[in-house]
């Protein structure tokens, strides 16, 4: 209750992992850890969908709907009908 962040769009297929560990290197919330020379998804709920792991994974083992978790950008997008990239940061 009162937690809209329990779920996210992160999907990881460990069968595709080649063990390069770049997902561990780029994740700002330590969502992945290396284990048995493969990446393991250990803190799924901490994912903020920034997309860093996805774009850097050569094996395309990670899929997610990446985007910026910014309400003002989304509200502006909803009001103007444009793509939601416009915020003031």
């Amino acid at each position: 209750m009162f937690n809209a962040y329990l779920e996210n769009t992160l999907v990881y297929d460990p069968k595709l992992c080649n063990g390069c560990a770049i997902c561990v290197a780029v994740c700002p919330h330590n969502v992945f850890e290396m284990n048995d020379r493969l990446a393991q998804l250990v803190r799924r709920q901490a994912c903020m969908e920034c997309g860093a792991c996805q774009v850097n994974c050569v094996m395309e083992a990670i899929t997610l709907e990446s985007g910026v978790g910014c309400a003002s950008a989304m509200i502006r997008a909803a009001l103007t009908g444009r793509k939601e990239i416009a915020c003031d940061c």
Partner: protein, 331 residues
């Protein structure tokens, strides 16, 4: 801007230092309070720090002055190159999210600056937070330069450079009290004028209580909320905002009974209820907008928050305004 005539000349390298001048500090203050928000940028290109040679390391950053300055200060004492991308004056992380700190921009900037003629090695050190916009393997394929992701914070570069391995702590983004405090002025100053205008109007229409209520509501959302963020109950920013806004509204709501002793009890209660409904809604809305400033909210989560709470904000605000207005006018 590629000057065809200069193609055969030496690659252009701009000078910089690792010391900040008084005018740099002044510019930082202006950036922090939001003066000329989009103008805090430096020219994209290749900069030389100290006395770099063909084997010196290359660090990549955004052309937002606060990003560039944090990097050059952190690299004090090192002879190296700084490759500044054109991110339209936006910091690394936001630019990566918007797609201006990107694979394409790196490829373009490496070509324009003719970096391959300046250095012998083939490695770029990027800030970790640039990663959402950059595919390291793509950069390698298109420029022959490999990408190494450094730590999140430039200040940790000296430690990082000893081993070129980032610790778990270096990899983790934080949102400390200090991080949150520096964000307050920009948001508060943006709301200052509308706040004063509405407070002024309400002062004449409904008296001092209402105008102070407007100020308290905005201060709660834009100042108290960022400070108290981790300690407010629940996970959702909107719910945290409703709770904080409710606490701030309570004394105003109760003051109705003291300030208008001449009113009938139902008039007093009507206005008290109105304030208790309208004020938290606004605080919660400002709080919801702070998701973009935070370092951990996901887009799908924020979207869920919006669907869940914005209707509640609209209803409580609307009902509260009608009640407050009605009972202010009736007397």
């Amino acid at each position: 801007m590629i000057d065809i005539g200069s193609i055969k000349s030496k690659p252009e390298i701009l000078p910089t230092t690792s010391r900040l001048s008084p005018s740099d500090y002044w510019a930082h203050w202006m950036a922090r309070i939001g003066v000329r928000r989009g103008a805090h940028r430096i020219d994209p290109g290749l900069y030389a720090l100290g006395n770099p040679g063909p084997d010196s390391q290359v660090f990549v950053t955004a052309n937002y002055t606060l990003s560039f300055d944090a990097l050059r200060v952190a690299l004090h004492g090192l002879d190296c190159y700084i490759l500044v991308l054109d991110t339209k004056g936006i910091n690394v992380w936001c630019a990566a999210g918007k797609g201006t700190f990107s694979t394409n921009e790196i490829v373009l900037r490496v070509l324009i600056t003719r970096l391959n003629e300046v250095v012998r090695h083939r490695k770029l050190i990027l800030p970790q937070l640039g990663a959402p916009g950059v595919a390291a393997h793509e950069v390698k394929k298109r420029t022959t330069f490999g990408v190494e992701y450094g730590p999140v914070r430039a200040a940790e570069l000296p430690e990082y450079l000893k081993t070129h391995k980032a610790t778990v702590e270096m990899r983790k983004v934080r949102f400390t009290l200090r991080d949150r405090l520096v964000l307050i002025p920009v948001d508060f100053i943006r709301l200052l004028l509308p706040m004063l205008a509405i407070a002024g109007i309400l002062h004449f229409v409904g008296g001092i209580l209402l105008s102070l209520g407007v100020v308290a509501t905005v201060v709660a959302g834009a100042v108290l909320f960022p400070i108290l963020l981790p300690w407010l109950p629940s996970h959702d920013f909107s719910m945290k905002g409703f709770i904080l806004g409710g606490l701030v509204a309570l004394p105003f709501s109760l003051s109705t009974y003291l300030i208008h002793p001449g009113w009938a009890w139902w008039q007093q209660t009507g206005q008290a209820l109105g304030l208790l409904l309208a004020m938290p809604a606004v605080t919660a809305f400002i709080a919801l907008n702070f998701t973009g400033s935070s370092t951990y909210t996901s887009r799908s989560g924020v979207r869920r928050e919006m669907y869940r709470y914005i209707p509640a904000m609209a209803w409580t605000f609307g009902t509260g305004i009608i009640l407050t207005g009605l009972f202010s006018l009736i007397h």
